[in-house]
Symmetry: C2
Subunit: 692 residues, 2 copies
């Protein structure tokens, strides 16, 4: 499985949109549901989705706060996603005596479904273009003043819409600032676990097979949404396809791709290649080794570190693949070529030159400035839950007294409810793991910034990383939810007088963290926004406006046929079959990553081996799409996106379907294993209960 | 086991000597055999070694070209060392059908002993002080001119002595330039493997227990030296102690510590902390992850990568420990305190100020300069055997026509025979592993220097790291020994006309590599030499000359008693026992690192469980000491150094025996396992054959 979730890309900021290849030639694009590529679908596939069809897809799609996608698949609020999107919850629902992440879970009845401590699901309800209102009055302002004005306008729009509708309202920046859309979501926080298979089959092949194909993974899990203590009865949900999808048949994917960088300028890509990715990779190489060591100490260490370990390993593989892509001159040369073509067209005309000509150099300048303080910005300790919690509490005490529009964006009224839901979560925090995370983070700060850097000195407080980490974790009260609530409700006085060492550390580091954030927003982000808006405008003018924006972890539609491909001269078939799972397990006998769960070994004879298990298709996806349903033109579930192959990793910068493919679990393979391996009658009946 | 070999520290250059604590208060010191701490030994332990005793120890000690230590232990040229010092050979002697590194080896007779492809052993024969001759005529010269003059003088001394004696002659720089000694070695290249246990017991506990204590490792291997096809009959060798060593009894260690940095100035240590170690660690984190991935592809991948993997993992753990030590303010504050004391004493007197006062600032300046091109210097691909070979061939074609004294030091006549021995070794080179090493090395060059750096562009030649690595390895002829010999004998014309892509790559990179090397030698090393010689002189004057030089991978004596210690309030016993091995294996059942070899499981009932297996002592050791014998005052082998505990890692900078300990295999535990587990009668009889 590709742990194809947004968390992978957490440390990478920025974005922007528009494709550089012409989408008409390939099944490219992460399309807004407000402007689907109707002409392409009609001419190439003879498919003309109705408005009602599109609405049903929109309202069946689910966004996971753990960074992935999902879909409503029953009249009783059943939600399907990937095991690896669920894994954060599976880990939080586990303890020393019951390892749900490893061993799976199946609720025998509704009463047995397990309430999740801090899982929030969102369903997109309405979309409104608010571009004019966001930009209103910013003409003639400096980049950073305009940025501040837009942030205030966005906050006001969100707050007003939220009060009016009672929905979660978020303004989404599209085309890096060329458009602003207001998305209103239904928000669900009573979510319960219904079914998860064992990690051994969900992530069969482990890191070795991650981002590879052929694959044999049952990377699925089911939750149920509750409202007022009862299963949610959605107006829209997806029916299950008994027949699945055929080779060359069109599939459509509705999900939440996280981040792409397809219109980054060449200089911006070089900043990624030379500064951002190497730094992020260095953090990941280090963290993977340290988590391996931690896990080796005992089975219990392994259990509590498992979710972090899988996330780090996955990010490392994804980003290393992206980095390889950026080092491939073919990719960079094509970027340079298309950029030169657009720039030269702009320069052919004085008006165009006046309007857009400076954008590329502005971005290059911003990258140079960013490189000057990039390391300083990456100094935080936010992989520690305790530090992250402390920093939120410290900042809330500063920010909440301000008007919503003047706050740091994550403390605006529109997001506060979700933030508090996370902050006061009763999910377990593992002290041993926290110590390891902090020790590693502190040592890494020192490696990056040097031992004499004032922030490092502040963070270490005259101790070694190990001693300091132990002191912070053993001394903090933040493990207890009530302590967090007390500090939050006590406001700035409670924070100022707190002797909690983690609070004191967060308070000590916050000024520096804010300083670099402000520098980034003013000197980099604002400049990029203005400049990319110009490039987008030039691009619209140059090649028409039938383009899709870069991914923003909001709902998009992708599409394409199920299709085999040729790799190193060999044809890789579109489908794998359930029987192949057992073949691969026996070829790799002795490797723990390929050890099948006992239930599967016992069920081998019962399983229909020729049932399709996983398949590949052309569909433009990226991290965040994990858990997206694949539907046929009837709108039935035929598959479940869980990965892209290695060749799809450079899609972060440019779509290419020669060998790149999206990888799904087949609806038929799922159903066969639910029946033959798990005897999950309740689940099977609910899924096959028929479409509404 | 601590893979306590010099290879660990490969990428770290520089050195210098002298301790900053007073050796009299602790069992500190890596003493030259020409000036042992007789007074301490006499007063503290009542031991007065005779000149004959010292000579016997000197001529029984063996230096391994694989970066470790050993000792002659029989009248028939049997040499004892660690399994992990032997592991390079064990790997080279293995193939797909016989994995000696993993499964061990026992020769049933002399005829079955396995000839090693490229193992060179050295025994130190004579020592001569040549300081005056090296420095002759350099007064008044600039630092870089003086450096060049000294390099020429050293070459002449080595060549002359070599021709006269027929021995391998090397001038050793001691006290970073305050003294120069000429060491003449007997050189042995027909070395055969006699015995090695399974990796599962030699490295029991794996990375988890590496650098830990208590330990249960049979980290031993035996080779035999041959001369003219017959076992070598040494004049001196060590007898085996049947009774072993007791708690508090004095043990003496004769071995080859690699590198310490105990008189580094504070600024130099900060350079290590902020520049050198972070960079080296970043390489190691990355490499460990990549080798893990490589190994997971198949058992054969695992086998061929095993030796590299163990080396990388060990270095990572060692250097991370050193880095933690440098971040511990207690260590740095003590360094600052003692440095300030010495500097203030120097400044109290105008003559002293004139002679030595500038040294500290000169070193600080050199570090600043070095930081400016340190990353450029670390750009080479020398972990690839094929690239290393190509670079040697290219450079030999340039260097050999010059007079010996004008060559790069590794091509001087005195070292050529050893170099050719390595270069034309028939040891297997694994193409798959070479591709992985080069791919990783090329990507890392790009991560470090940026994709547009001219050297990166040269190295990648317009391809991605993966494609370039495959092209280099599939196109090179250097896998064949004859091709290497042909290129070496063909000289510069053969190199200039070669179309071998690896040769062309080495030739293309060589100018840049030489440029940075020259900058380092002239702007950093020469300055450091002069300045550290001044600091050494000041230190001699300040606290007397009873000091030992920093480690230089030359023969030293360390000593101290067997001693338990207290860690986190708990007493850690000095000895472990054989029975503890089985206890630990059962506590950690399921973890492959703690899986005992079948032979041990079968032998459990036969083994005398209360026989001591491993022990700790106070003795000042460091990487390179692996395989050193521990002898009692009678000169009998009582143990075999194989590790230091975690608390000993900061010994690179300062000795501290509160918790730091050297870790050995006990002679009694070895003998019991040779008898009861391996039924190795031939080995047992030879070891117990009695001292000469």
């Amino acid at each position: 499985m590709r742990r194809f979730i947004i968390g992978c890309f957490g440390a990478i900021v920025g974005c922007l949109a528009l494709s550089f290849t012409s989408p008409a030639t390939a099944d490219e694009g992460m399309w807004l549901l407000t402007s689907p590529p109707l002409e392409t679908l009609r001419s190439k596939y003879g498919f003309e989705p109705s408005a009602a069809w599109m609405e049903k897809m929109q309202k069946s799609a689910v966004r996971f706060s753990t960074g992935g996608s999902g879909s409503l698949v029953s009249a009783n609020g059943l939600v399907m996603t990937n095991h690896h999107v669920a894994s954060d919850m599976l880990s939080k629902l586990s303890d020393q005596d019951r390892d749900i992440l490893r061993d799976g879970f199946m609720a025998a009845s509704e009463a047995d479904e397990l309430a999740c401590p801090d899982l929030e699901l969102n369903v997109l309800w309405t979309i409104e273009d608010v571009t004019d209102r966001v930009n209103s009055g910013t003409e003639g302002m400096s980049a950073s003043d305009a940025g501040a004005a837009r942030r205030r306008a966005i906050s006001a729009i969100e707050q007003e819409a939220g009060e009016r509708s009672g929905l979660l309202c978020q303004v989404v920046t599209l085309y890096q600032g060329a458009r602003y859309h207001l998305y209103a979501y239904k928000r669900f926080t009573d979510v319960r676990l219904v079914f998860a298979p064992e990690e051994g089959i969900a992530f069969f092949g482990g890191d070795t097979d991650n981002f590879e194909y052929p694959r044999y993974c049952l990377d699925v899990a089911f939750f149920r949404i509750y409202e007022d203590g009862k299963p949610y009865k959605p107006e829209h949900y997806l029916a299950w396809s008994r027949d699945g999808i055929a080779e060359d048949e069109l599939g459509l994917v509705f999900g939440h791709p996280g981040t792409t960088r397809r219109l980054f300028t060449v200089d911006h890509l070089k900043f990624m290649r030379d500064v951002q990715l190497p730094r992020r990779l260095a953090q990941l190489w280090r963290r993977e080794v340290q988590l391996t060591n931690f896990s080796n100490r005992s089975p219990e260490h392994r259990r509590i570190a498992r979710e972090d370990f899988l996330g780090v390993q996955n990010s490392r593989k994804a980003l290393a693949g992206q980095f390889d892509g950026l080092l491939d001159p073919a990719v960079m040369n094509e970027k340079a070529r298309s950029e030169a073509a657009l720039r030269s067209w702009v320069l052919q005309d004085p008006d165009r030159t006046e309007a857009w000509g400076s954008a590329w150099d502005d971005i290059a300048e911003a990258q140079k400035r960013h490189a000057g303080f990039f390391n300083d910005r990456s100094m935080d300790l936010s992989s520690s839950t305790l530090f992250r919690t402390a920093l939120h509490l410290v900042r809330m005490s500063d920010e909440l007294p301000k008007p919503s529009g003047d706050r740091l964006r994550e403390y605006r009224d529109s997001g506060l409810e979700s933030l508090r839901f996370q902050l006061f979560s009763p999910a377990p925090i593992h002290e041993l793991l926290e110590i390891d995370i902090l020790r590693s983070g502190l040592a890494q700060m020192a490696e990056t910034l040097g031992g004499d850097h004032p922030v490092v000195q502040l963070a270490l407080a005259g101790k070694s990383p190990r001693a300091r980490a132990e002191e912070l974790v053993s001394g903090t009260s933040l493990l207890a939810v009530e302590a967090r609530q007390r500090l939050a409700s006590g406001g700035s006085e409670a924070i100022a007088t707190s002797t909690d060492p983690m609070i004191r550390l967060a308070a000590a580091l916050d000024p520096a963290l804010r300083r670099y954030r402000t520098r980034f927003e003013n000197e980099v982000e604002s400049v990029e926004r203005q400049a990319y808006a110009k490039i987008a405008a030039a691009k619209f003018a140059f090649q028409g406006d039938s383009v899709y924006p870069d991914a923003t972890f909001t709902l998009r539609m992708s599409f394409g046929p199920v299709k085999s491909y040729i790799e190193a001269g060999e044809r890789i078939p579109a489908f794998t079959r359930l029987s192949g799972t057992f073949d691969r397990a026996s070829t790799r006998a002795g490797d723990p990553a390929f050890k099948l769960p006992q239930r599967w070994i016992d069920a081998e004879k019962r399983i229909k081996g020729d049932v399709p298990f996983n398949f590949v298709m052309c569909a433009d996806i990226i991290g965040g799409n994990s858990g997206s349903p694949v539907v046929n033109t009837t709108g039935e579930v035929v598959g479940l996106i869980f990965d892209g192959n290695l060749q799809s990793l450079p899609w972060a910068f440019a779509y290419d379907e020669r060998e790149g493919r999206a990888v799904s679990v087949d609806s038929r393979g799922m159903m066969e294993s639910f029946k033959s391996v798990y005897k999950a009658d309740r689940l099977v009946n609910e899924l096959l209960g028929g479409a509404k």
